[in-house]
Symmetry: C2
Subunit: 210 residues, 2 copies
């Protein structure tokens, strides 16, 4: 697929000739369908955005942290298989940055936020809860970028840590949001002793006790 070129390389390193070659099409034909590289890039971005948003979908079965753990596994697979494109897009300063590209990124962020809020199941999430989820999505982006650059831990470790960081942020938010507190109490009751939440609580207790 021609548009996959943008996954493997930064947009400035992809030429119309590369795209034509990958698509088995002539340069004029590529130009016939797309007014230029920027339009092709934004189309690739929209497709990648839809694919990524699809990976956030998860049935509402089992403990919350384990659902989230599965979602983050699929997210990190996506990040790995689109490493160059993901980095070029989110590192900032890309020559391909544009209001349209920003709009696609924001749509994906919103889709992720809505999926998480849906799993929490509160009909009318408080501003505190919305802010907590948005900030955690930024954390996931920043952490993935760092991780792509240094791979300092295995993917599964980052996957676990991001889940635990959301659980911790939700617990802090719950101190200011009684509705969320009641909900988390229910969710925590379903967590398994070897699940991400129980492991975090054990690790925190051990760390803070020393």
């Amino acid at each position: 697929m021609a548009l996959e070129l943008f996954s493997d390389r930064a947009p400035e390193d992809v030429s119309i000739d590369d795209i034509a070659a990958a698509a088995g099409a002539s340069r004029p034909l590529v130009y016939h369908y797309f007014p230029g590289k920027q339009a092709l890039y934004e189309e690739a971005l929209r497709r990648a955005g839809r694919e990524l948003a699809g990976r956030f979908e998860e049935t509402a079965d089992g403990p919350l942290s384990e659902r989230l753990f599965r979602v983050m596994g699929r997210y990190l697979d996506f990040v790995q298989s689109h490493a160059a494109g993901f980095t070029a897009l989110l590192r900032g300063g890309s020559v391909a940055a544009s209001p349209d590209a920003d709009a696609v990124i924001d749509q994906v962020r919103r889709a992720a936020q809505e999926q998480i809020l849906r799993h929490l199941g509160l009909p009318d999430p408080s501003p505190t809860l919305r802010r907590t989820v948005r900030a955690w999505i930024a954390n996931a982006e920043i952490s993935s970028l760092d991780w792509l650059a240094d791979r300092s831990v295995p993917a599964e470790t980052l996957q676990l840590h991001l889940v635990q960081e959301l659980v911790a942020a939700l617990a802090v938010a719950a101190t200011r949001d009684p509705e969320l507190a009641a909900l988390l109490a229910e969710f925590f009751a379903t967590e398994r002793p070897d699940g991400p939440t129980a492991r975090l609580v054990r690790d925190l207790t051990a760390t803070l006790a020393t």
Copy 2:
């Protein structure tokens, strides 16, 4: 000061005529010194960035969470007095967005990160700790933008919450970073019973016990 126009309005709403009027200078004179509005905007941004970075400086006295609380007070004062410019810059999609503007923003983020790491006093912060601080800086940006848009809580409340969110994130990071764990134990020993950290621990205990 002519450049303060960019604090009160989005860059697209400031004209060279406005700048000339505010500076008591002629339009040709403004053009003589600056090649255009973008250059003036970037100069305003660099000055604002230096001022903001200065507000992160804080003597290493007293409990960590109280130092941070003072810094966040100054940060939120800055955000309030540069509301329109801050929002236009960070909301994305601004017509004034440019690689140079991004570079100034990144410099301020790095200054904030270095100040926080300096207060923690670890000579060689782990990747986990750096990532935690960077993600929290993104949280502070996102939360300030939301807050400027809705002012759903008093500034002092957001100030406290951001401090507590960093303390919580550091505690989670400490479960994966023994050096940080030892350091936090020392810091927590100096926290006052009515300080941000002690209040967070009390609130979390009460919330999770219900």
